[in-house]
Structures are given as structure tokens and as C-alpha cells.
């Protein structure tokens, strides 16, 4: 069992260079697919093993912690690994056509190699129990995502990628500085060891500085309002496949690290008396309102969804900021639910983009009549984004509102409801344009004459509907994410409070 966990990182580490060396686009896709299949299977087995509360420890190279690097897998990071691996798998199946179309033939194997490196980085961040190792994985995933975003078709993609590189590196360097302060205070890099001996050095002013640097660094990575400025452009300009994958996983993993740091590195008894929970609530609430407001005003579907991501991240931050068990469960479950919902929506947006070469709503009036399946996916996944009962989005918002009421924080509960109404507005904006306007004659944009065939994309459409079905499945059968979240939260609060 222990060996399986490290395979999650080792497999992509081996397959990525192989993909880069074998310069063949079909083989590259096949290797990526096989890798993702293996990772999805492994992560599923690991989650099944730890969901009831068992914890797997794996010592790299046989060095005992706290000296060696240790992988610690409990139900929380197994859930994150499952999100990453399964979304990667479905994205690879979905994206074979879109990657062929958007990426130059000579670069496609490098594209897949970089894609595997992002998966590697995100899985590593999820699994490691060593805080410096986490920084290294964070940089692996970030560097490869900068490269992937820069492969977007338009030249704006380059600027988006450069801005992301600036913000991302600044965030990672802040994180590194925070680790430095923490190491200076504690003399160890093992997260469990830091938490265990926290009382010995918690009185040092250094520790607060460390906490703030780590928090700001992670908030930049997770695009928490007001540090989100890199996100909308990066997601809009990236190739379809990259947008689908990054939008549903990368910020979620950063939120996971935030949760892990705030509960198992710094005990929550340490920071709950500070201004910090208030700040998290404020930034979460403002993020929800601002993201939703900006989403309503967008005309490009991709940018609209990107701003909606900023808003949805606000829900997770609020869940952490409430600092009670229900809030944390809501944050973790929302992490899971939002990942599948956003994957479905960005897949639908990608389908529109591939078929009509635009996601500009003004050019998509009445598209619902000519492409009912693609637009149908928008409508169904949109329900989950709003949080209609019976969909995945409802479950987490319900828990979040309950958590806010439990704390007696009516302002937060009200803000969540207002943001949900705003979500109805921006989802309705898409639906209205697609179904109730027009009927303009649909045109394929930016193509020479004689090529105006709207391509059918059966595989990609199927993948999109798989994600839509997942949204509904986890709206009705909530066992897996809820059980994992429950187990995780029990552990998080016992380590935080018990010290």
C-alpha cells in the first residue's frame, strides 16, 4: 500500500520525459492517457483505503522523518489526488481533438509532456508531508502551467502567461520565505513535526511573520480575492484542454494546501484569536460578490467562467474562515464539487470554441437550436454552478450556509445567498443568449471560405456529458466527498485543538 502512494508521483515523473523524447503526437497522447488511467486507478485505491480514517506514511528512500521526506496520505489529500487524477483522465480523452487543433504538430508531444508535469506537481503537492518538498512540487506544477498557457492560439496568451509567471513566482517566493522563517523558529521542515513541537516556539514573533508570508503566497497561487488578477486572462487564453484541467484542479490544490497549513502546520488555536478568520471571511465575501459581478458583465463565455471561478473560490475561503467543522466540510466538499462543475462548463465552452471558433456571446445568439447537445451541457452544468437542489453545487452551498448560521454570522450567510442569485444571473445570461435570442444564422468564425463545416465531436461531447452526469450523481449520492471530508475534518480539528 505504501508503495502505491509514491507511484502517484513517480509514474508521471518517468512518463513525462519519455513523452518529450518520443516526438510523435499519437504516442504522446497514448502515453498520457495510460499514465492518467494508472494515476486515476491508483488514487481511487488509495482513497478507498484511507477514507475511513487510516493514514498511510511513506518514507522516501527509507530515511526516517523528520530528517527524511515523508508522504502522509489521509482522506483529505487522497480526495484531492482523486480530483486531480480523474479530471486529468477525462481531460486527456476530451482534449485529443482540441489539442490537435490548437497546438502546432511539432510541439504536441512537448505539450503532453508539460501536461503530465502539471499533474505530477499537483499530485506531489497533495501527497507530501514535507513543507519544502511542497514548495518544489508547487514550482514544478506552476512552471509547466506557464508553458502550457503560453501555447494558447492568440498572442494575448503570451502576455497572460507572463503575468501569471510574475504573480505565481512572487507567490511561491513568499511561500519559500515563510518556510524559511518557520524553519528558523522550529528547526524542522516536516509538517507533522512542526505541529507537534509548535508550543515550544509559538511565542516567537517570527512565527506570525512565517504564517503571513505563507498565507499570502498561497493566496496568490489560489487566486483568492484580491490576489486573483492573473486568473481570468490565463484561463481565457490558455488552450482548451489546459483551461479545463487548470480551472478545475490547480486553484483547488492551492486551497487544499491552505487548509493543510492552517490546521496541521499552524494549529487553529494559534490563529483563531487573531484578525485572520475575519480577513478570510472578508476576502471570501468580497471575492464572491466581485467575481460574480464581473462574470455578469463579460461577453466571452470563457472569461465569464473564469470570473465565476474567482467567485467560487470565495466560497471555499469563507468555509475556511468560518473555522468550524461544518465550514471546513463545506470548503472541502465545495472544492470537489466545483472541480467537476467547472470542468463540465469549460468542456462545454471548449466544444463551442472548437465548433464555431468563438466563445463571444454576441456571436452565439440562438446557438441552442443548431447545437442542442453542446448548449444543453451548459444549461445542466449551469444548474450545478448555481446550486440547484439535486446537483453537486447545492450540497456544498447548503453546508456553507449552515456553517455560517451555526456561527451566527448572518452577514456571511446573506452574502452567500446574494452571490448565488448573481450566479443565476450570469448562468441565465448564457442560457438566454443560446436559447432565447436570435435566430441569427450561425457562422463559423475566422475560417477561409469552403471550410465552414461545423465539426462533430462525439468523443469530446461524450466526455462533457460524463462530467455533467457526475455533477448530478454527486448531487444525489454524496457519500464519497462527504465521508472523506468528515474524516479529514475530524482529524484536522483534533490535531489543531489537542495541542
Amino acid at each position: 500500500m505504501e508503495m502505491l502512494t509514491v507511484l502517484l508521483v513517480v509514474i508521471p515523473l518517468i512518463s513525462a520525459p519519455i513523452t518529450a523524447i518520443i516526438a510523435n503526437r499519437y504516442v504522446a497522447w497514448l502515453i498520457t492517457l495510460v499514465t492518467c488511467l494508472a494515476l486515476a486507478g491508483l488514487s481511487g485505491v488509495v482513497l478507498h483505503h484511507v477514507i475511513s480514517g487510516e493514514v498511510i506514511h511513506y518514507e522516501l528512500g527509507g530515511w526516517k522523518p523528520p530528517w527524511g521526506i515523508e508522504y502522509v496520505i489521509d482522506s483529505l489529500n487522497a480526495l484531492v489526488a482523486v480530483i486531480v487524477a480523474f479530471i486529468a483522465l477525462i481531460t486527456v480523452i476530451y482534449g485529443s481533438k482540441s489539442a490537435e487543433k490548437e497546438i502546432h504538430d511539432s510541439q504536441i508531444h512537448l505539450f503532453y509532456a508539460a501536461f503530465q508535469l502539471v499533474i505530477l506537481g499537483l499530485l506531489g503537492m497533495a501527497l507530501t508531508g514535507d513543507i519544502f518538498n511542497l514548495f518544489v512540487f508547487l514550482e514544478i506544477s506552476s512552471l509547466s502551467s506557464y508553458a502550457l498557457i503560453a501555447m494558447g492560439q492568440k498572442r494575448q496568451a503570451l502576455v497572460a502567461s507572463f503575468n501569471y509567471l510574475m504573480a505565481g513566482t512572487l507567490g511561491a517566493t513568499f511561500f519559500l520565505l515563510g518556510i524559511g522563517f518557520l524553519y528558523a523558529a522550529s528547526g524542522t521542515l516536516n509538517m507533522a513535526d512542526i505541529a507537534l513541537r509548535f508550543d515550544q516556539f509559538s511565542s516567537m514573533t517570527l512565527v506570525i511573520t512565517a504564517l503571513l508570508f505563507i498565507l499570502i503566497g498561497l493566496a496568490l497561487k489560489a487566486a483568492v480575492f484580491p490576489l486573483h488578477s492573473w486568473l481570468p486572462e490565463a484561463y481565457t487564453q490558455a488552450p482548451t484542454m489546459v483551461t479545463v484541467f487548470l480551472a478545475s484542479t490547480s486553484t483547488k490544490v492551492a486551497i487544499y494546501v491552505l487548509i493543510r497549513t492552517l490546521y496541521q502546520v499552524f494549529p487553529n488555536t494559534y490563529w483563531e484569536e487573531m484578525l485572520l478568520p475575519g480577513f478570510l471571511l472578508l476576502s471570501g465575501c468580497l471575492g464572491m460578490l466581485y467575481g460574480s459581478y464581473k462574470a455578469i458583465r463579460q461577453v466571452s463565455i470563457k472569461r465569464l467562467l473564469a470570473y465565476s471561478s474567482v467567485a467560487q473560490l470565495g466560497y471555499m475561503v469563507v468555509g475556511v474562515g468560518l473555522n468550524n467543522e461544518a465550514g471546513l466540510i463545506a470548503a472541502i466538499v465545495h472544492m470537489f464539487n466545483h472541480a467537476i462543475t467547472k470542468a463540465a462548463l469549460f468542456m462545454a465552452a471548449g466544444l463551442v470554441l472548437m465548433r464555431l471558433h468563438t466563445t463571444n456571446l454576441e456571436k452565439l445568439r440562438g446557438a441552442g437550436k443548431t447545437m442542442p447537445w453542446t448548449t444543453g451541457a451548459f444549461a445542466l452544468a449551469g444548474l450545478s454552478l448555481i446550486g440547484v437542489p439535486g446537483t453537486a453545487g447545492f450540497i456544498s452551498k447548503w453546508y456553507l450556509v449552515q456553517a455560517a448560521l451555526e456561527k451566527g454570522n448572518y452577514v456571511v450567510a446573506g452574502t452567500i445567498l446574494i452571490a448565488s442569485i448573481m450566479a443565476i444571473m450570469y448562468v441565465w445570461k448564457i442560457i438566454e443568449t443560446l436559447y432565447f435570442e436570435g435566430p441569427d444564422k450561425l457562422t463559423v468564425h475566422k475560417v477561409g471560405s469552403g471550410k465552414e463545416i461545423v465539426p462533430d465531436l462525439p468523443v469530446a461531447t461524450f466526455c462533457c456529458y460524463v462530467m455533467v452526469a457526475t455533477c448530478f450523481y454527486f448531487g444525489l449520492y454524496t457519500d464519497i466527498p462527504l465521508e472523506a471530508a468528515n474524516t479529514a475534518v475530524e482529524v484536522l480539528f483534533s490535531t489543531g485543538g489537542g495541542q
Partner: protein, 139 residues
């Protein structure tokens, strides 16, 4: 606020000790200076190349910080010899080897992006690029 008050009180009461405090932490003051220069360049310069240079300085300052933290009074480089009994802490130095590699990779990627941006927009000035971007069709 209490801390600030305490430091101010400390400064006015003990000028010589204050001096010793400032001099004793001279490496940290210099590191903070390098860091702030880097960050300021990154934020203020419209030239992409200078922005990247600022970022590099900022990263370098963190590397210096780690090495400073690992310094032990009277310790030598952490290589086991007969002549020495005290060594600097090797762990921060090892960590920084990794961080340097990460920094190099970031710089390489940044330069590659700048080359492509310059080819695409024929400019490295942020203002100019933004003007061109605004003129483009949105999506």
C-alpha cells in the same frame, strides 16, 4: 503595536545597544534592501525585461536569507575535516540549491516568453503592449 512601542522605548533608552542591534543584524538589513529593490523594480518598471530582473533579485534575496539563517558563529563550510569542529547548518544551503534551480528554470521560461512577446507585439514595454491588446478583438 505593543512591539513597536517596546522597540521605540528600547531605542531611546539604550542608544549603544540599539547600534549593536542594527550592526549585529546587518546581513538581514542588506537582504531586506535587496528584496525591496527587486520587488519595487518588478512593480514599477514598464519594461518586461526589467520586471524579470526585479523578480530575480527578489528570489536571490530569499536565497541569501536562508544562507544567513544557517550561519553558525565560528562555523565553517559544512565539509567534515579534522581542522574544524563547528559547521554552518548545511540544510538551508541544500534547500537553496533546489531553490536556485527553480529560479534558473523560472528565468529561462521568463526570457523565452519575453522573446515570443517581442516577436508578437514588436515591443517589450508593458504600456505599448496593453495599447495593442486593447485594440484587438476580444475573443
Amino acid at each position: 503595536m505593543r512591539n513597536v512601542a517596546a522597540v521605540l522605548h528600547f531605542c531611546t533608552d539604550n542608544p549603544p545597544t540599539m547600534m549593536a542591534y542594527l550592526l549585529g543584524h546587518i546581513n538581514y538589513w542588506l537582504i531586506i534592501a535587496v528584496m525591496m529593490v527587486g520587488m519595487f523594480t518588478m512593480m514599477s518598471s514598464p519594461n518586461l525585461m526589467k520586471k524579470l530582473a526585479g523578480l530575480s533579485m527578489f528570489q536571490t534575496a530569499v536565497i541569501l536569507f536562508y544562507v544567513s539563517v544557517g550561519k553558525v558563529d565560528g562555523g565553517t563550510a559544512p565539509i567534515v575535516t579534522e581542522a574544524a569542529t563547528r559547521y554552518a547548518n548545511p540544510l538551508p544551503q541544500v534547500l537553496m540549491l533546489t531553490a536556485i534551480v527553480v529560479g534558473v528554470a523560472t528565468m529561462a521560461l521568463g526570457f523565452a516568453l519575453i522573446i515570443r512577446i517581442r516577436r508578437a507585439y514588436n515591443s517589450m514595454e508593458e504600456d505599448n503592449i496593453h495599447q495593442q491588446m486593447e485594440a484587438e478583438e476580444l475573443d
